[in-house]
């Protein structure tokens, strides 16, 4: 269906007006909202993620593409909700306690939304207890922890400890941020680590059992 192909291309190029127009045209032509998301928007953001990982595009292009998708979702989400269609996976994300930086966290959040996940963004300076409560409340498949500062890495460790202690067998924990490494993730018992927003989608998909 060429309109879907066009929509994918429009999202990937960050063309907000075209993305909204094509979404509207697809709806008018009778396309199902979930097909527009899964076959139009999500593939567009997958292109963006791949280009970002390969350094073919950078943060501005990613932000602009994510905004284009967000505008389209404004049209689609009420229709999806009224049809009772929910994303297959729910992920929780936040910047750990003591850390107020949100750019990296927001980029991951956008890319996860772009991958079709339901994203619960807890914001910044999130206490370990709040992560646990949110993970339980939303039955999260993944909890994502972000930190920019070395001073807040201990809060990440404590959050992982509490999440593990809470006994959430279906919840995986991912971490990331400038000073974070795979070795640190291994050390504190996180299930996954991603160095950038493009990789974060691949890692999340693997953690929920889907091929990246």
């Amino acid at each position: 269906m060429s309109l879907l192909t066009d929509l994918t291309a429009a999202v990937a190029a960050g063309k907000r007006i075209d993305t909204v127009r094509l979404t509207q045209e697809l709806l008018t032509s009778g396309a199902r909202p979930q097909d527009i998301v899964e076959q139009g928007l999500v593939p567009g953001m997958a292109i963006v993620g791949g280009q970002f990982k390969r350094n073919e595009i950078f943060v501005p292009e990613m932000l602009v593409a994510a905004r284009a998708m967000k505008e389209a979702l404004k049209l689609l989400e009420p229709l999806l909700a009224s049809a009772g269609i929910k994303p297959k996976y729910t992920v929780i994300i936040g910047t750990v306690q003591g850390d107020l930086h949100d750019i990296g966290k927001n980029l991951i959040s956008m890319m996860w939304r772009g991958a079709g996940f339901a994203v619960i963004d807890l914001g910044t300076n999130v206490s370990p207890e709040r992560y646990v409560t949110a993970a339980q409340e939303h039955q999260a498949h993944i909890v994502g922890l972000s930190a920019l500062l070395t001073t807040t890495m201990p809060a990440m460790k404590e959050t992982v400890r509490l999440l593990k202690a809470a006994g959430l067998p279906h919840t995986k924990i991912m971490i990331g941020g400038a000073p974070i490494t795979q070795a640190f993730a291994d050390d504190i018992g996180a299930d996954g680590y991603a160095a950038d927003a493009g990789t974060a989608v691949d890692v999340a998909r693997k953690l929920v059992g889907e091929a990246a």
Partner: protein, 364 residues
């Protein structure tokens, strides 16, 4: 030889007597220094080579607060609004101190829809000489003490623009070509020209420009986008500073976190003399010395994501020795510093190791 002469020798490509040292710290670390030494200033406690000057712009939070309300943004009562409208809120708990990067940044201009709205805001007149009146006497004091006078102009244009507008909005503005991002970038370019020229006339040795355009893994924005939007403005600032310096050498120091390898040749081309902070976690100082050592000085180099908080004192000392070897063995122009302000998690023993090892090394 005093610190200023040593710095000039180092950055002119001659043999220096020692590594110029700078130790930027967060307020909690300043408290620690005070508790240990009786002096809160790292510059005084450790007798570092640099001292600092800055412009004094009028801070008018109530005017900004009223202007923001007109735009539909209600700044929280606890918000601190700075001279250029940058708005921050301290965290609810001060367990990690209150340094600038531990505060929540709000984006009061996120709702702006036109350049006309921007023009109506209470921007300081950055050309007014009053803002810079205290600089020359302060520079004289610093020089009398034989130290290097350093004028800070970091957050030169890009960062202040996105602090106000929000990074996503600023990039969307550039994509939409609506003029809003360009107006902000131009305003801060003009501010930096005014300040930079005032600093140059006041006799400073270093003017420190900077905007973070790097991430751990590479550039934040593409090199073509940087070339289009930031490089020409940065070049205009440097050209204006040079024009105001009456032929006297001023070292232009440029800070960007992260890996910015693809644009370093062009930073040199437009007149950057010293690059900071060269995070060892994502850029190799040795490689930069090999590629650009004859034209570019390096500043920083001791990792605050690794060695300073997590290394042993011996590992800190080893890193200092590696940096010293870059000058001794390869003629590199280097000044040593942590790659970011020291956070409260850095052990006192590591701070002492940095200072003591640096001071113990003398080049013959």
């Amino acid at each position: 030889m005093n610190a200023r002469e040593n710095f000039q020798a180092m950055m002119s490509g001659q043999r220096a007597a020692w590594l110029p040292l700078n130790v930027p710290v967060t307020p909690p670390v300043a408290d620690l220094i005070a508790a240990r030494t009786g002096v809160r200033s790292a510059e005084l406690a450790f007798e570092t080579d640099f001292d600092f000057v800055a412009a004094q712009y009028p801070v008018t939070p109530e005017r900004w607060r009223a202007a923001f309300q007109q735009l539909g943004f209600d700044a929280p009562a606890t918000a601190e609004i700075e001279a250029f409208g940058v708005t921050q809120v301290a965290p609810p708990s001060d367990t990690l101190g209150s340094a600038y990067h531990l505060r929540m940044l709000l984006h009061p201009l996120a709702t702006v829809t036109s350049v006309a709205q921007l023009k109506n805001l209470p921007w300081p007149d950055t050309a007014a000489a009053d803002h810079y009146a205290a600089v020359a006497p302060r520079v004289q004091q610093i020089h009398t003490r034989g130290k290097v006078a350093w004028a800070g102009l970091e957050c030169t244009l890009f960062e202040l623009s996105w602090y106000l507008r929000g990074m996503d909005n600023l990039f969307q503005d550039l994509a939409d070509k609506n003029g809003i991002a360009d107006w902000l970038l131009d305003y801060f370019t003009t501010r930096s020209i005014h300040a930079g020229q005032a600093f140059a006339r006041a006799g400073v040795d270093i003017i420190a420009l900077g905007d973070d355009v790097g991430m751990q893994t590479g550039l934040l924005l593409s090199a073509p986008m940087w070339r289009h939007h930031l490089k020409p403005r940065l070049a205009a600032i440097i050209t204006a500073i040079r024009a105001a310096s009456s032929g006297r050498k001023i070292w232009i120091h440029y800070h960007s976190d992260g890996n910015i390898l693809p644009i370093i040749p062009e930073l040199i081309e437009i007149g950057i003399d010293i690059l900071n902070p060269i995070q060892p976690e994502c850029m190799s100082a040795a490689e930069l010395v090999h590629l650009h050592g004859r034209t570019l000085g390096l500043s920083g180099l001791v990792g605050t994501q690794t060695t300073m908080p997590f290394g042993t004192p011996e590992q800190v000392r080893q890193r200092v020795r590696e940096i010293a070897a870059l000058h001794r063995d390869h003629g590199a122009r280097v000044m040593i510093a942590p790659t970011h302000v020291l956070e409260p998690d850095v052990p006192w023993a590591n701070i002492l190791a940095l200072v003591e090892e640096t001071k113990s090394i003398r080049f013959s």
